[in-house]
């Protein structure tokens, strides 16, 4: 597919490499708090909110990425309070939100006229067709995540250790928790057309789960998870470039293999 490499090809490939690094890093890092706070369904709910938003955008002729971000932000606003309700397991209530959103998304898909290539891109992602603004928004969200990790690392550590204890020592635990959920939602929305709404969940869950097997140090877990995310994405890109395979599929397979290897070599077993 990629030969001969023209300048045109080269530019797309370079963009795709950057997108892989940024997407892998972002998803790997937000995955750490999704795993440690034990809210895997937040990842699912977020990706489907963003997906529903993108489809809604296509349907009404609005910018799909902006709509994805908007829906993800609204979902973040809903998820926090829902997760606070003590009488309902958050994973159950989020499951309900997620199924409603998925219904909306597929209803929208059905209503779309003409070819559904663009809509399908939001399901599968297409890392080779990114625009400069896609890339820039990914870069910004990754920088924001890094900045927040550096500034609020001790608060994040406390919240991920135990939310009630974090609150009891006088940390604004709710604000930190909501901030983390909102960042997760934004990252998911912005990775939608890179990795795809259906597959992003695995990229959020697999790298931190692998890192979780390997270290007892939170900083190291963030580092390893980001690294595994980047490796998975670059591998997916390499395969799709060489063999014309769907990128997302190989990303998921790679990240699952990394998890399997981590499990085998885990000192924690």
């Amino acid at each position: 597919m990629g030969f001969p490499i023209t300048i045109f090809h080269y530019k797309f490939l370079l963009r795709a490499i950057f997108a892989s690094i940024l997407g892998g890093l972002g998803c790997g890092m937000i995955g750490v708090w999704i795993i440690l706070a034990r809210i895997p369904f937040v990842g699912v709910a977020m990706s489907h909110a963003a997906f529903a938003g993108a489809i809604t955008g296509l349907l009404f002729g609005l910018n799909p990425l902006l709509m994805a971000i908007l829906f993800a932000l609204i979902a973040s606003g809903l998820i926090g309070p829902v997760a606070e309700r003590a009488d309902l397991d958050p994973n159950i209530s989020l499951g309900i939100i997620f199924s409603i959103l998925l219904g909306i998304a597929f209803l929208g898909m059905g209503l779309l006229h003409g070819p559904k290539t663009e809509a399908l891109n939001f399901i599968w992602g297409n890392i080779l067709l990114l625009s400069d603004s896609d890339l820039l928004s990914l870069l910004i969200i990754v920088l924001v995540i890094l900045l927040i990790l550096i500034l609020f690392f001790k608060e994040i550590m406390a919240v991920l250790f135990h939310r009630e204890i974090a609150r009891s020592v006088g940390i604004p635990e709710r604000s930190i928790f909501y901030l983390l959920i909102t960042l997760a939602g934004l990252t998911v929305a912005l990775s939608l057309n890179t990795i795809g709404g259906l597959l992003i969940f695995s990229l959020i869950i697999n790298p931190p789960s692998a890192a979780y097997q390997l270290t007892y140090d939170l900083k190291q877990m963030f580092f390893l998870s980001g690294l595994f995310g980047v490796i998975s994405c670059l591998f997916g890109l390499l395969f799709s470039y060489l063999f014309n395979t769907p990128t997302g599929a190989v990303i998921i397979i790679t990240s699952s293999v990394i998890f399997g290897i981590a499990l085998i070599f885990s000192p924690k077993r």
Binding site: I165, S168, Y212
Partner: protein, 251 residues
Amino acid sequence: MNASAIIRLKDVSVAYQKDLVLTKINLQIDEGEFVTVLGPNGAGKTTLLTTINGLGRIRGGEVWIFGIRLTPSRAGEIRKEIGYVPQILNLDPRMPIRVRDVVRIGRFGKVGLIHRLSSRDEDIVDEVMALTGIKDFSLRPIGHLSGGELQKVQIARALAQEPRILLLDEPTSNLDLRAQYELLDLIEQIYLERSITIVFVTHILSHIPPSSSRLLLMKRGKITFDGPRGRALQRNRIGDLYGIPDHDLPL
């Protein structure tokens, strides 16, 4: 009403969903007191503690701590001065956080957002770890500790706040005899050396710390007795509290 009380509850009621869990509680605790709250499971002991540090949501009445009315907007500041050791910690053994970092969490609220811990903060962490005897495993993963070790870490974390009030929720209930003994000893030592106001919760009669001279008996959301230890620990009262015949009591 004694205005100088460090903890003051006035007609406080708490409910989850519909059921009242605390019913019109009135309570005053003075600075430096060591109060034990005794009562059966489900009496509302844990809820009483979370009412004092503002983690629970009260339905009615007023809570005053350090002479300040506890409101949601002031709770954060007040909590920095209250060390809280919750009842049960279900920690994943794989949790990627080590013992010393858990103790450091006690300083995080006081230090404030963005700021790093100063060398003075780290000294305080070292000091409370020495006091509680957990220095030897400061780098162990927090999920790998025994019940007794974990309780000591929790107490160290609470002490790292340099709190004026210490709330201990059944710290001795799930420990073997030796660990119970060690922990009660540690709590005594903390009280005698630091003159912190302590509220200690237990459902086990034999775990009342020797220095605790005042007892609250709690049953079904009410304080049924509040007074000196000697008068609290009478057969009829305790039998009544737990709903068992007096003559079966090991008093």
